[in-house]
Symmetry: C2
Subunit: 184 residues, 2 copies
DNA sequence: GTCTATAGAAGGATAGAC
DNA sequence: GTCTATCCTTCTATAGAC
């Protein structure tokens, strides 16, 4: 099952380099050297640098869409727990891709995945327990983006269970019941 | 008081463009067009593209160092409250710069400000109320980075008071008293 | 499928006139 | 202080041999 092993190598090295130096900060030359092939070989396997990025991020996007589907069938606290657990799992498994996508640069300048913004908004709503309180909305956004950044930057501080810590933190901050709009 | 008005224009446009497309994603040509001058003029006012970035970020860094100094004199809950209020205020006032600095790309490849990592770690500790529980540490990191990202991306959703919302969210998540290490 | 060689564009920075 | 013109490098992508 080592068919396409060059293609896989390219994806792996590109993920590593993009997440370290950013998309614009990584050249095809850099990737070719890391893989041990020529730039032309990269462009044989992928039509362009942009196409390489899309191929890299695509599986993570598919899983995010799948999570969005699963959440659509849930309500109340179940929905929020599933959203938190599912999202934490996803960003932990696709750490390099998250780093990439979270570079705001890439998000605005690259061939987008259609509907991804709507998915992100639904995720925020699920994190907020569909509360009407705008503070809960901000809380959800803080937790969602904070989880991404912590996962990106986490260097393994003393063997703690990052998955458990992140879900615990999320549960601690997010509202357990939908709240009415909070005054003052 | 319009002396140096070109220099100020350059800083303003550079902040806008860098925060929108990233440092690597913005060329001197882009900035020159936005300002309405030539690339040579940019490089008359700033020695290099890197120097322009440093000039842009420097005031924010100075204020962060000042906050760090103020926090050194405080303990307990006072320290945490001052850290949260001070940091929220800082990122709200330096929104474009935060966007820039938060691009992990820049942080690793550009002339650094000495000691800034240590300041960031002390800020995390203050957010965590100097708790020994690793979950509180993760919570502090989630809130700290989440605040940055939310401020960066916030498009003004319905005139809510972002400052108050962010401090409320931080207070809701962070421990009010130092806790012992939490088991299981 | 992989290579070398190169085209063609864009980047940062400098020289020198005004 | 600002400009035009230019230099040199680096980048993405293509052409064509093997």
């Amino acid at each position: 099952m080592t068919r396409n092993h060059t293609r896989e190598d390219i994806l792996a090295e590109a993920a590593r380099l993009f997440s370290r130096a950013g998309f614009k900060g990584t050249s095809l030359h850099d990737i070719a050297v890391a893989v041990g092939c020529s730039k032309a070989t990269l462009l044989y396997h992928f039509a362009s640098k942009d196409a390489l990025l899309v191929a890299l991020v695509e599986p993570a996007v598919q899983e995010l869409l799948a999570l969005d589907d699963r959440l659509a069938a849930l309500v109340g606290e179940d929905a929020r727990t599933a959203a938190v657990d599912g999202f934490v799992d996803l960003v932990l498994r696709y750490r390099p891709q998250v780093t990439l996508v979270y570079d705001s640069l890439q998000l605005t300048e690259i061939p987008r995945f259609p509907g991804i913004d709507a998915v992100a908004e639904r995720l925020v709503r699920a994190f907020a327990g569909h509360s009407a309180d705008p503070v809960d909305d901000i809380a959800a956004r803080v937790v969602l983006s904070g989880i991404c950044t912590v996962v990106i930057e986490h260097a393994d501080s003393g063997g703690i269970d990052l998955r458990k810590a992140l879900t615990t933190v999320a549960e601690r901050l997010l509202p357990s019941q939908p709240r009415p709009r909070q005054e003052s």
